[in-house]
């Protein structure tokens, strides 16, 4: 009976903590945008973060998207062959899937694991070793010094990585389409460009921009709020990655719904 009585308390606490977390993350986003709006951007630091997020993530994004394109072409070719006796429209399936969904989602998932985890761990370590406090005592706002460069780096680099992922994935699909299914490359390209337009491209880019904002704000927030030494840093990192991934996958549906409603793609 005592345990049952604790359930509403447990649920209430959980809801309150979630609401508090969302509020704090929202305020962090507001502060970050405020400093960017006032032009307080440390470009040297920002470019270093762009290299870290963009260039350093490129190999893993390239590898995963190349194989994703290949497997899409393999699966769709086999399915169409089973249904229509002919592996048709492979380019269309690969193009739409990658540009509107898998490019932005897979890129963001990889970035949340690679960059989000690194941001949460780095800032979390700075928090527990009092380096964030030290910034204040040296006349520096941590949001301005740490959050702004990471935010700019993520919201610019993730859409670019997503575009690169689309291109590489489509080439992966082309390889399977030509060498496995024997489809001429001109037909593959026609299947893509006859059915897709610039709206589809922006559909994916807008999504990846929003996913990037989710990842970077969640990771910075978890780092800044980290408590309790090494264990706290571990928990902050895990929770930053988990929350980012869940938010990417859940918000993807609602974003798609909204963008389709707005006739973007």
């Amino acid at each position: 009976m005592k345990r049952i009585k604790k359930v509403p308390h447990f649920i209430g606490n959980g809801l309150l903590n979630t609401a508090e977390g969302i509020g704090k993350a929202g305020y962090l986003l507001f502060q970050t945008v405020y400093w960017i709006g006032r032009g307080f951007v440390d470009w040297k630091n920002t470019v270093a973060q762009m290299v870290e997020v963009g260039w350093m993530s490129f190999p893993v994004i390239a590898l995963t998207s190349f194989f994703t394109g290949m497997v899409l072409a393999l699966q769709s070719g086999q399915s169409f062959k089973n249904v229509f006796n002919e592996p048709v429209f492979i380019g269309t399936v690969v193009g739409f899937s990658l540009v509107k969904e898998l490019g932005p989602v897979l890129t963001s998932i990889v970035i949340s694991g690679r960059v989000g985890a690194s941001i949460a761990a780095e800032l979390g370590t700075m928090k527990v070793t009092e380096q964030l406090d030290a910034l204040y005592t040296l006349g520096t706002n941590p949001v301005r010094y740490l959050a702004v460069p990471r935010f700019i780096a993520c919201v610019t680099m993730v859409p670019m990585l997503s575009i690169m992922s689309n291109i590489i994935g489509i080439f992966g699909g082309l390889l399977v389409s030509v060498y496995k299914w024997g489809i001429p490359s001109t037909i593959y390209w026609d299947d893509i460009f006859n059915f897709m337009d610039v709206g589809d491209f922006f559909h994916g880019v807008i999504k990846s921009f929003i996913f990037a904002a989710f990842i970077v704000i969640t990771s910075i927030h978890k780092g800044f709020e980290c408590e309790g030494g090494a264990e706290g840093v571990g928990k902050a990192t895990t929770s930053a990655v988990m929350i980012s991934m869940v938010m990417i996958l859940v918000s993807d549906y609602f974003l798609t719904y909204l963008l389709v409603l707005l006739r973007i793609g």
Partner: protein, 253 residues
């Protein structure tokens, strides 16, 4: 001058400060002593504005700081230098960049003089030729000294030392004590030292205040504290296991 009046601070349900009243006079070194976890560092962080008290007021040079907005608080914080317990050096920067960090941000001296000032501060704490090393390449004592060089680089009016000798060997601890005295005499700054190292407290302080159960229970010169009749102060400064301060130890042990 700093005046702390009726400051209360709690973390979740744990009440750490329960109405602290304290005055730190200009150009003195005041040491706050007390057991581990009694709230000494919390008090320092309230004074410098890194934490906000739930109740009470803190005046720095006559200005109440607990309700200042961020930009005004940053201006007040520029008057302070803070030596953190673990030095809190920025891992990604070199020693030189760490010491120059505050100077670059506060713009208190022209940029072309920063390099010279960094070398001066490092020399003042007895370090030469380390400006290009990363903090990971330094020993604990060297990190503390770099932290001190960083804290004094912008010539603050107040320097706060959070456990400056903790984790150091006795000789290095005494070197740090000498540095605190030397800096106070040379720069004429007001210093607040937080420690539970009584040898260090007696050596560096003009006055000592004891924090116990969230309140200042006694303050006076090192001699007055050493000869205090207060049972709690006496037990602490003598380092006695028996007395009014209980650590909830297993009595059968």
């Amino acid at each position: 001058m700093i005046k702390v009046s009726g400051v209360h601070k709690k973390f979740k349900s744990k009440q750490v400060l329960r109405g602290v009243d304290l005055e730190i006079r200009d150009a003195e070194t005041l040491t706050i002593i007390g057991g581990s976890g009694c709230g000494k560092s919390v008090l320092l962080k309230n004074i410098i504005g890194l934490l906000k008290p739930e109740e009470g007021e803190i005046f720095v040079d006559g200005k109440e700081t607990t309700r200042l907005d961020e930009s005004d608080l940053l201006e007040v914080q520029k008057k302070f230098g803070y030596l953190f317990q673990g030095a809190a050096l920025f891992d990604s920067l070199t020693v030189g960049e760490n010491v120059a960090f505050g100077l670059n941000n506060m713009k208190t001296i022209p940029p072309n003089e920063i390099g010279k000032r960094v070398l001066e501060c490092l020399a003042m704490v007895g370090l030469k030729g380390v400006e290009n090393l990363k903090p990971a390449e330094l020993s604990g004592g060297m990190k503390k000294r770099v932290g001190l060089a960083r804290a004094i680089a912008h010539k603050p009016e107040y320097i706060m030392y959070d456990e400056p000798t903790t984790g150091l060997d006795p000789i290095m601890a005494d070197v740090i004590n000498d540095l605190i005295i030397h800096l106070q005499k040379q720069l004429g700054v007001t210093s607040i030292v937080v420690t539970h190292d009584m040898k260090s407290a007696y050596k560096v302080s003009n006055r000592i205040a004891m924090l116990y159960e969230g309140k200042i229970i006694g303050a006076g010169s090192p001699d007055e504290i050493k000869n205090s009749k207060d049972a709690v102060v006496h037990q602490f400064v003598e380092g006695l296991s028996q007395g009014p301060i209980t650590l909830n130890l297993d009595k059968n042990f």
